[in-house]
């Protein structure tokens, strides 16, 4: 009984990863604590979920690039959702983080990692880019600047998320491309 739920969630996550289906929606928690299921509207051409951590240096360093991408592609119907999966990062901590970094845009929590499991995300920062039907276009790192925590080069030489977005808008998106994310692990559940 004790292992029933997590096991179910894990298997479900595996089954549903990458084909979440527009009908099922995306389970999140709003900053006011309300649970919600995000669904595509007629304007939604694609989704980009970005998992963030308040203290993760790699996630924070990627924020200017992520905000620029959001501004650039919002007009093309790409809906950016910033998701904080770490359970200890409460709404106040998240609001302060957003104010500190000038981060606007749709923001959610995922303290039970339901969305993360559904999408197959495991680190901050990690982007999951899906089309309106829920089919995976790209999942993984934002760019190739970092090799690990504390390890990297002076600037990215490849901007994986930006490339996938550009290809999507040009009409030939990658199909389910995955680059391993580099950054901070999600916090263990208590």
């Amino acid at each position: 009984m004790r292992f029933g739920y997590p096991l179910f969630a894990l298997v479900a996550g595996l089954l549903w990863t990458g084909c979440s289906g527009s009908g099922r929606g995306y389970p999140v928690q709003r900053l006011d604590g309300a649970k919600a299921t995000l669904r595509a509207t007629p304007e939604t051409k694609a989704w980009v979920f970005v998992f963030l951590g308040v203290e993760c240096p790699i996630a924070n360093r990627c924020l200017p690039e992520l905000m620029a991408l959001e501004r650039e592609f919002a007009g093309a119907g790409v809906r950016f959702c910033f998701v904080y999966p770490n359970q200890d990062e409460d709404p106040n901590v998240i609001r302060r983080h957003q104010a500190d970094y000038g981060l606007m845009g749709e923001t959610f929590r995922d303290p039970g990692l339901r969305l993360a499991r559904q999408l197959g995300a495991s680190k901050t920062p990690e982007a999951v880019f899906l089309d309106a039907a829920g089919k995976l276009i790209y999942r993984g790192r934002i760019n190739d600047q970092f090799l690990a925590l504390g390890q990297g080069k002076p600037a990215p030489t490849r901007r994986d998320l930006a490339e996938a977005l550009t290809q999507f808008c040009a009409g030939h998106p990658p199909a389910g491309l995955v680059q391993p994310p580099v950054g901070c692990s999600f916090r263990p559940l208590p």
Partner: protein
């Protein structure tokens, strides 16, 4: 036997808890940086902190990314070592595997107490960046020099110093000194505080005979007893910093604390460099090894090492081959990381007899498989100072055992410096054949070796290539002066001053020429300018003092000569004149 078996078996299955096993390692190796006000992005000061990051703790320690420490075990023992033992790494892995249990708080070691003040107490002098620089939110890493002006009026001997970046954006820093004002001129040309680049002006140098680097987690630097270095009045401290954007604009106003000693040095360390200027990496090349070596001219103790290469360097080795053929590994960095570079001071100085060969080997990887390659796809990379260029260097700090040894080292140092200047500037000319400053440097190297014809050729080429280059005219003037062509020399010095009214040496030489031709008034004008431009020029102070002495201006002469004597204590002429000035002053009263 049986007891040992039981004991090790128990150790394997003992539960690992935070308070008993993890906290001692964490507090010692992680908390010094992972605490508020330091460089690390989050704190690791408590059970709650550690539990949040347990998975990453286990991962980064197992991969030896943290704590950051590049030298491999068994190749030199250094002060401030941050390497974890295998047993310490296993503590994190087992704690993670066990689900990060807290354990019995009663068994916890005392929580670490860190001073938010200067770690060695209140410094004798604190200097800071005059204005804050804003590190941009995003974009590339930033390499920038900042000037921290000095305010004291006398030479001081530095026995220790601490750098406080006051910002998490600083990834590493080098302390350098500039007595020429060159760094200020660069700073003035850039609207923001400081000036960009890794290409430090020639006049900006590390403290004589010493290394001075800082990286996150570095302890305050204390020089060995008897080996302080000098802070000269009028000099600028120049901090060269590698900055990493943090995702939001970050104010940076770093400060430095100095601890002085009244006792001047009892010995002089020398720095010798192993450098390979031929680095030329075709795209895709792996395992390209560049080496350099030198033979020690006298017995010495090796105090420390400073390896340097950029993003394509993967492995750095330093080796001593003793006269009897025995090889001694001094340093091995198996996985070089530009971000965590620094210098290393041996716990115990390493004695190396005369005739020891010191060897550097740097291995490069310019393939796409090098994840730190700044170019994608890889491009050809040659020797140069910018991060897009490459370097292969190993600097050695040595303490000669005798005065004769020191003289031998100075000769070796000069020979190698001339060699380095030649190699470096020939390389600059290969990349840019119109680089007139490189021609001037080649000319200077030739001049220092007494090769006047070769020097003249280089200076003339430089003038032809870039007629408004002040130094090219200055050195042509100098050659004319050496060859007793005062008219031509004066014309070149005058031209130098037209191009750069702040050229101290041109003023100094014109002053000397006017003095020789018995025109003390005009000589005094030039020396006065030189003294104002460079308060550390002993010749200009001595000469102006001499003229004032002749003119009967005893008080002014006394002040200038006293300053000259302080700047160059070894000049007996100046001392004699100073005595005269003092006697006259006394007699006049």
């Amino acid at each position: 036997m049986a007891f040992g078996g039981v004991f090790s078996g128990a150790a394997q299955s003992d539960p690992v808890t935070f308070h008993e096993q993890v906290a001692p390692v964490l507090f010692r190796h992680c908390s010094p940086c992972h605490r508020p006000g330091q460089s690390a992005p989050f704190s690791l000061l408590s059970f709650a902190d550690a539990k949040k990051h347990v998975r990453d703790l286990a991962d980064v320690t197992a991969r030896r990314f943290m704590p950051p420490w590049l030298p491999a075990a068994g190749h030199g023992e250094f002060i401030g070592e941050r390497r974890l033992t295998e047993a310490e790494i296993a503590v994190f892995a087992r704690w993670h595997a066990a689900g990060a249990p807290e354990g019995d708080a009663a068994k916890a070691p005392p929580a670490p107490v860190f001073s938010t003040e200067w770690q060695l107490g209140q410094p004798d002098l604190v200097i800071r960046m005059p204005a804050a620089y804003t590190v941009p939110a995003g974009g590339r890493d930033v390499y920038r020099h900042f000037i921290l002006p000095l305010t004291m009026t006398n030479r001081r001997w530095v026995r220790a110093w601490e750098f406080r970046p006051n910002s998490r954006a600083v990834h590493h820093a080098f302390l350098r000194l500039d007595r020429s004002g060159e760094a200020r001129r660069h700073d003035a040309q850039d609207p923001e505080p400081g000036f960009p680049g890794m290409d430090t002006p020639n006049s900006v140098e590390s403290p004589n005979g010493h290394f001075a680097s800082w990286q996150p987690g570095a302890v305050p630097r204390q020089n060995p007893p008897g080996l302080p270095w000098a802070l000269e009045p009028g000099a600028d401290v120049v901090m060269q910093m590698h900055l990493q954007p943090l995702g939001k604009p970050e104010p940076l106003q770093a400060e430095l604390g100095f601890y002085f000693t009244e006792d001047p040095p009892t010995n002089r360390p020398v720095k010798l460099s192993l450098i390979n200027y031929d680095v030329d990496l075709a795209p895709g090349v792996t395992n390209a090894v560049y080496r350099d070596e030198l033979t020690l001219p006298a017995d010495a103790d090796l105090l420390g090492l400073l390896p340097h290469t950029h993003y394509l360097g993967r492995r750095v080795e330093g080796l001593a081959i003793l006269p009897d053929g025995v090889e001694k590994s001094l340093l091995l960095i198996p996985d070089w990381d530009f971000n965590w570079q620094g210098d290393y001071t041996f716990r115990q100085p390493v004695f190396l007899p005369a005739g020891t060969r010191l060897v550097m080997r740097v291995t490069f990887d310019n393939s796409a498989a090098n994840p730190r390659n700044p170019a994608n796809p890889p491009v050809r990379v040659q020797f140069g100072l910018n991060t897009t260029d490459e370097m292969a260097e190993l600097w050695l700090q040595l303490l000669p055992r005798t005065t004769n040894g020191l003289a031998a080292f100075s000769r070796t140092n000069l020979e190698r410096t001339v060699r380095d200047v030649r190699s470096f500037n020939l390389q600059r000319l290969r990349i840019n054949p119109k680089d007139a400053a490189a021609m001037v440097n080649l000319g200077k190297a030739a001049l220092s070796q007494g090769q006047r014809a070769e020097a003249r050729t280089q200076f003339l080429r430089a003038v032809e290539t870039q007629p408004e280059l002040d130094d090219a005219h200055y050195f042509l003037g100098l050659i004319h002066r050496m060859e007793n062509n005062p008219g031509a020399a004066a014309r070149e010095f005058a031209r130098t001053l037209e191009l750069n009214p702040g050229h101290v040496r041109a003023h100094g030489n014109l002053g000397l020429m006017h003095f020789d031709y018995n025109r003390p008034e005009r000589a005094a004008e030039h020396f006065a300018k030189a003294v104002t431009l460079d308060p550390t020029d002993p010749i200009a102070h001595g000469m102006l003092g001499t003229i004032r002495l002749q003119q009967g201006q005893w008080a002014e002469a006394e002040g200038l000569l006293a300053h000259a004597a302080e700047l160059d204590p070894a000049d007996p002429e100046v001392r004699k004149k100073l005595e005269t000035a003092r006697q006259r002053l006394k007699a006049g009263q």
